[in-house]
C-alpha cells in the first residue's frame, strides 16, 4: 500500500486559536489524552520512532516527586533544518505540547535544549516562552520552561548524552537501561521529545487522533516534516504524508537525474535509483523516514555526484562527532574511513570492503548509542549499492 505524495499544512498552520485549544485540552483527563496519543499512532520524530503516548505513560507511572520534560532542539543531523523552522513559526505549539505532557506526567519544569548554532533564535523563543508563562498563569498551571544552550556536539542530540551535557558533564551517552522515563535529567523521570513530535501532539489534541491516524500507512501514521536538499530545484522544508514511495518523492523533488537519495541524514540509509519504486518512506522495514538524532533529511544526489565522496564526507563527520567513549564507534569510524581510502588508493584489495562491511555490522550490534549503531546504515547502503565507485 502506497500513498500519493500529499503536501500538508498541519504543523505550520497558525490559526491563532492556541489558547483555546490548550484550555480545552487541559480540561480533559490525563487518561483520555494519553489514550488519544496512543490511538493516533504518533511515533517520535527524532529518530528512534518510540510511540509518544507510551513514553508519556511510562513517565506518568513513575511516582518520583520531581520530573522533567525536555524538548530536544539539538537538530544536528546533516541535512536537517526543519526544527528551527518549527521553532520559528509555531513555537507555541511546541510549548503547548510540553505543557500537556507536564500536566500528564506531573512535572513543573521543562527545558528546550537548543542547538548552539541556533543561538539567534533565543530572543524569539524567549518571547514565546514569556507569553506561554502568562498563559500558564492564566490556566493556573505550575509549569516553567527554560532554554538550555547546547555547545555544538552532534552526540548531545542523543538523549542521555543530552542529560549529561545539561548536568554539566561531558556529553557522553549513558548505558541503557535505565531509560529516561525513569532515570533521565538529574536522575529523575524525564520525557524527552523532538521539537516536531511535540508540535504533532498539539495537532492531535486539536483535531483528534482519527484525523492524524487517517494519514500515513501501517505503522507510520500522520505527516512528517522533511528537509529536502541536494540536487533538487526546490530545496526546502515540506510537510508530507507518510507512505509515499521514494519514486514519487523523486518525481516531485528531483532534478530528473537522481541516482540516489540519502534518507535520514548521515545516520540514515542511501537508496539507489533501482530501489526508488519499492521504497516506502515510513518506519516499516529497514528504511525509516527519520533517523537519529533529528530525522526527516532527504538528500538527493544526481549522476554527477561521487558516492565515494558522499560516504567519505559522512565518515569524516562521524570520526569527528563520535564522543569517543566506546570502542566500536571511536575506532570503528576511523577504520571505515581509512579503509575506504586504502581501497580507493589500491593499498588494500577490493575484498577489504567486505571486511569493512563486517565491521559496520559489528558496530551496529555493539556500539553504546544510536550514533555508533547507525554508522552502518549509510556505510553499508552506499558500499553495497555503489561498490564500483568505492573501488575505481
Amino acid at each position: 500500500m502506497t500513498k500519493n505524495l500529499k503536501r500538508l499544512d498541519l504543523i505550520f498552520k497558525n490559526e491563532g486559536d492556541s489558547e483555546a485549544i490548550l484550555g480545552k485540552t487541559l480540561a480533559r483527563s490525563n487518561e483520555e489524552l494519553i489514550s488519544d496519543l496512543i490511538a493516533s499512532g504518533l511515533k517520535g520524530r527524532g529518530g528512534a520512532g518510540f510511540p509518544t503516548g507510551l513514553k508519556w505513560r511510562l513517565a506518568a507511572d513513575d511516582k518520583a516527586d520531581e520530573k522533567f520534560i525536555i524538548c530536544n532542539a539539538d537538530e544536528g543531523e546533516p541535512g536537517t533544518f526543519k526544527d528551527r523552522e518549527i521553532l520559528t513559526s509555531v513555537p507555541h505549539k511546541v510549548l503547548a505540547g510540553m505543557a500537556v505532557c507536564a500536566r500528564i506526567i506531573n512535572c513543573r519544569q521543562g527545558f528546550i535544549y537548543l542547538r548552539q548554532e541556533y543561538t539567534y533564535l533565543v530572543p524569539h523563543l524567549n518571547n514565546a516562552i514569556e507569553e506561554f508563562h502568562q498563559l500558564m498563569k492564566k490556566f493556573e498551571v505550575d509549569f516553567q520552561v527554560e532554554i538550555f544552550m547546547g555547545s555544538g556536539a552532534y552526540i548531545c542530540g542523543e538523549e542521555t548524552a543530552l542529560f549529561e551535557s545539561m548536568e554539566g558533564k561531558r556529553g557522553e551517552p549513558r548505558n541503557k537501561p535505565p531509560y529516561p522515563t525513569n532515570f533521565g535529567y538529574k536522575g529523575k523521570p524525564t520525557v524527552i521529545n523532538n521539537v516536531e513530535t511535540l508540535a504533532h501532539t498539539y495537532s492531535i489534541f486539536k483535531y483528534g487522533p482519527e484525523k492524524f491516524r487517517d494519514l500515513g500507512v501501517k505503522d507510520s501514521r500522520g505527516s512528517k516534516v522533511f528537509s529536502v536538499s541536494g540536487d533538487t530545484p526546490i530545496p526546502g522544508i515540506y510537510e508530507l504524508e507518510f507512505g509515499m514511495t521514494l519514486q514519487k518523492f523523486v518525481d516531485d523533488f528531483g532534478d530528473g537525474d537522481a541516482k540516489a537519495v540519502q534518507v535520514g541524514g548521515a545516520a540514515g540509509f542511501c537508496v539507489p535509483r533501482k530501489r526508488f519504486e519499492k521504497t516506502i518512506i515510513g518506519y516499516q522495514g529497514k528504511l525509516t523516514g527519520v533517523s537519529l538524532p533529528t530525522g526527516g533529511s532527504m538528500m538527493i544526489f544526481n549522476s554527477s555526484r561521487s558516492m565515494y565522496n558522499v560516504l567519505h564526507n559522512y565518515l569524516d563527520f562521524f570520526v569527528e562527532e563520535s564522543c569517543g567513549q566506546c570502542t566500536p564507534c571511536r575506532v570503528g569510524t576511523q577504520q571505515l574511513l581509512m579503509g575506504i581510502q586504502a581501497v580507493k588508493r589500491g593499498e588494500r584489495p577490493s575484498t577489504y570492503l567486505d571486511k569493512l562491511l563486517g565491521l559496520a555490522e559489528v558496530m551496529r550490534v555493539t556500539a553504546k548509542c544510536g550514533l555508533g549503531q547507525s554508522v552502518a546504515n549509510s556505510f553499508s547502503s552506499i558500499v553495497e549499492n555503489f561498490k564500483e565507485e568505492m573501488i575505481y
Binding site: I155, N175, P177, E321, G324, Q325, T327, P328, R330, V331
Partner: protein, 596 residues
C-alpha cells in the same frame, strides 16, 4: 523470592539477586566473560564493549557488565556472533594501541595483551592507526609515566582518580578520533594536582600508565664497587611481593624477600618497619605533647586533631586541597624518610661507611614515595636521604631478572641495627594500623598499662570501612598525665582520598571533634598502594590485610616502644623522642600548594 531472578546463561540455569549484572551472574557459575573497562573497585562504564553477549531474540548484543540479569533471559556468551564481535573489537583496540609487546614495561601483566593472545589469531586485519597520530609520553613526573600511545580509553584511571580519590587529575578531553585521557590544560602530571598515589597505575589494563622505574639505576649502584647499597622494605611489601612472583595473595614472604635482596647484591638488608616503630615513638609523643598543650596549657597555637603523615599521597593531597590544615599534620617524617635520614648518619657511622658513598634504596608499595624521596626537605643527612624508591613490582622484576626462583628460597632475617621491628610496625601496612600501633604505645605511656584490648588487637580501628571512628577512654593515668584522666580520646581512620576529603571537611565545618586521625591515600592503606602487584580488588586487599595481622601476631614484640633496636638508637644517638637530633633528622615541614 521476588528479589531473585532466574535466567539461562549458555544453557545453564542460574538464579541471582535482582540487580546482578550479567557479568557477575556468569561469574557465579564460573563462566568468564572477558572485560577491559570493568573493574571491581569502580562504577560500571560499559565503554570497551569487549564483554558483549547475545540475548535470544535480541538483534543487538548486550554489554554484560552494564545490563542487569532479568527473569527468563537466555544469554549466550560464546555464540558465533559474540565471538566475531569480541574479536573485531579487540582488533580495533589493538589498531589504536602502540603494540610493542616485546619491549613494553607492562608486558606479561597487560590485560589487552592477554585478551589479544586469546582472541586474535594472526595478523590484525585493520589498519594500524598509530603512525597517523601524534601522541605524548609524559615522563616528567618522578612517580608516573603516562604514554597515550598505549591507552585504550577505557577510563578506568579517570574513574579511579575521580571516585576513589576525588582528585580528578585525569580526565577525558576532546572527542571522536582525538578523544584522549588528559590533565588540566594538558599539562604534564607533575604540574597538576596529582598526589602520585598511583591508583591509576594499579588499574590501567595496558602500559599507558606505569610507575617510573629505577631498576637500572639500582642495578648500577649494586654493581658499583665503590658504593655501599642499603635497602629498606616497607611493611606492606612482604605480604604482596609473592603475588608478582607466582604466589597466591595473602602469603607472607618476608624471609624469602630478605634472602632475595641479599642475592641481588644489596650490602645491607634492613627494614622500614624499624623506622615505623620509631615513627610511632615520635608521632605518639607529638600527639601527647599536643594534647598537653591544648588540654592542659590551653595553648591556642597548637592544633588538634593531629593527623598522621606517613602517606606521601595524603601529604600532597592536603598540601593542595586543605593547605590551611598543614599545622594539623604530624611533623614526623614517614618511616621511609626517617630511615633514609638515619641510614646516612647513625647507620653509616656504626658500620664505618662514608655516607657519600652510600646509596639508599627503598622498596615501597607506593609510587608517591618516589616523589617524597625527591622532596627538597629530604636532605637531613646532608645527602639525598633516600636515593631510589622501587615499587613492589620493580623488586619482583629485579628478582626475575636475576634468575632467582623465588618460591624455593629459604627464609632469612634482616641485618641488625636497623632491622628489628615489632608487630605494631608491621600493621602500618593496613588501614588503621598506624592508629593501632600509636594507641598501643600512647596508652601505655600515659597509664603504664597495656591497651585494654584482648591480645593488643584494637579491632574497632581495623577493617575496610572507608571511614571508621573509635574512642579510647584514658583510665588511671599516671601522675604526669593526670590531665588526661577520664578523657575519651576520639580517633578516626580513613583510607582512599575521597574518604579523607569527607573527614577533613567534617573537621573544617566542626561537625567532628577528633583528637587523632589516621589517613592513608590508598584503599586499604599501603597494602593497596599504587606500587603493589597488579591486579587489585577488594578480595585481594582483604587477603593482604589478613596476612598483615597474622604477621603481627607472630611477632614476639608487639609494641613499638619495646623494639630493642629503637630503644638503642635513642640511647646511643637520638637522645629522647622529640629531642634535638630527632627534630633535625626525623621531623619535617610541609608546603602549601596551589589547587590548580
Amino acid at each position: 523470592m521476588s528479589s531473585q531472578v532466574t535466567l539461562k546463561i549458555d544453557s545453564i540455569s542460574v538464579s541471582v539477586k535482582q540487580g546482578t549484572s550479567l557479568l557477575d551472574a556468569a561469574r557465579s557459575i564460573n563462566i568468564k566473560i572477558p572485560t577491559l573497562c570493568h573493574h571491581e573497585d569502580l562504577c560500571v562504564a560499559g565503554n570497551c564493549r569487549v564483554c558483549m553477549v547475545e540475548q535470544k531474540g535480541s538483534d543487538r548484543l548486550l554489554p554484560a557488565c552494564a545490563i542487569p540479569a532479568s527473569d527468563g533471559m537466555e544469554i549466550h556468551t560464546n555464540s558465533m556472533k559474540v565471538r566475531n564481535a569480541r574479536k573485531q573489537i579487540l582488533e580495533l583496540l589493538v589498531s589504536e594501541h602502540r603494540a610493542e609487546c616485546t619491549t613494553c614495561y607492562k608486558s606479561g601483566n597487560c590485560e589487552l595483551q592477554e585478551l589479544s593472545h586469546e582472541y586474535i589469531l594472526g595478523e590484525n586485519a585493520f589498519i594500524n592507526l598509530i603512525p597517523f597520530k601524534e601522541y605524548t609520553i609524559d615522563y616528567y613526573s618522578p612517580s608516573i609515566i603516562k604514554d597515550d600511545s598505549k591507552c585504550i580509553r577505557c577510563q578506568r584511571c579517570v574513574r579511579t582518580c575521580d571516585q576513589l580519590q576525588n582528585i580528578g587529575a585525569l580526565t577525558v578531553s576532546k572527542k571522536g578520533s582525538e578523544m584522549k585521557i588528559s590533565t588540566f590544560f594538558e599539562k604534564p602530571i607533575y604540574q597538576v594536582v596529582c598526589t602520585n598515589c598511583g591508583q591509576c597505575v594499579n588499574r590501567c589494563p595496558t602500559g599507558a600508565l606505569t610507575e617510573k622505574n629505577y631498576v637500572e639505576e639500582v642495578w648500577s649502584a649494586i654493581n658499583d664497587e665503590k658504593k655501599y647499597v642499603v635497602v629498606q622494605t616497607a611493611p606492606a611489601v612482604r605480604i604482596a611481593l609473592g603475588e608478582a612472583l607466582g604466589i597466591d595473595p595473602g602469603e607472607i614472604v618476608t624471609g624469602k624477600m630478605v634472602t632475595a635482596l641479599r642475592r641481588l647484591g644489596f650490602n645491607s638488608v634492613l627494614d622500614t618497619d624499624f623506622t615505623a616503630d620509631l615513627t610511632i615513638i615520635e608521632e605518639g609523643h607529638e600527639l601527647l605533647q599536643r594534647l598537653k598543650k591544648v588540654l592542659k596549657d590551653k595553648d591556642k597555637n597548637v592544633r588538634l586533631p593531629m593527623t598522621t603523615s606517613c602517606s606521601p599521597g595524603w601529604i600532597k593531597f592536603i598540601e593542595h586541597i586543605f593547605p590551611d590544615f598543614l599545622p594539623n599534620l604530624s611533623s614526623a617524617k614517614s618511616p621511609q624518610q626517617m630511615f633514609g635520614a638515619l641510614a646516612k648518619t647513625f647507620f653509616a657511622n656504626k658500620i664505618g661507611v662514608d655516607p657519600a658513598s652510600m646509596v639508599s634504596v627503598s622498596v615501597m608499595p607506593c609510587t608517591a614515595k618516589k616523589f617524597e624521596a625527591n622532596r627538597p626537605e629530604m636532605y637531613s643527612s646532608g645527602y639525598q636521604d633516600v636515593d631510589y624508591v622501587l615499587t613492589t613490582r620493580e623488586l619482583a622484576l629485579m628478582i626475575k631478572q636475576a634468575g632467582i626462583d623465588f618460591k624455593s628460597l629459604a627464609d632469612d632475617n634482616y641485618d641488625s641495627i636497623m632491622g628489628e621491628s615489632s608487630g605494631a610496625a608491621v600493621i602500618f601496612g593496613a588501614t588503621g594500623g598506624v592508629m593501632e600501633a600509636a594507641l598501643r604505645t600512647v596508652y601505655e605511656v600515659v597509664t603504664g598499662r597495656e591497651v585494654p584490648f584482648e591480645g593488643l588487637n584494637i579491632t574497632p580501628v581495623r577493617g575496610m570501612e572507608g571511614v571508621r571512628e573509635a574512642t579510647l577512654k584514658i583510665d588511671k593515668a599516671l601522675p604526669e598525665w593526670d590531665f588526661l584522666e577520664g578523657v575519651e580520646v576520639k580517633t578516626c581512620v580513613a583510607h582512599g582520598l575521597a574518604n579523607a576529603k569527607r573527614v577533613m571537611e567534617s573537621v573544617r565545618d566542626g561537625s567532628s571533634n577528633y583528637h587523632f586521625i589516621e589517613i592513608m591515600a590508598c584503599p586499604g592503606g599501603c597494602l593497596g598502594g599504587g606500587g603493589q602487584p597488579i591486579p587489585t580488588s577488594p578480595e585481594i586487599r582483604n587477603a593482604r590485610s589478613s596476612a598483615i595481622y597474622r604477621e603481627d601476631t607472630l611477632k614476639t614484640i608487639r609494641k613499638s616502644h619495646e623494639n630493642p633496636e629503637v630503644v638503642k638508637v635513642y640511647k646511643e644517638f637520638l637522645g629522647e623522642p622529640l629531642g634535638h637530633e630527632s627534630h633535625r633528622l626525623l621531623h619535617t615541614h610541609y608546603t602549601p600548594r596551589e589547587r590548580y
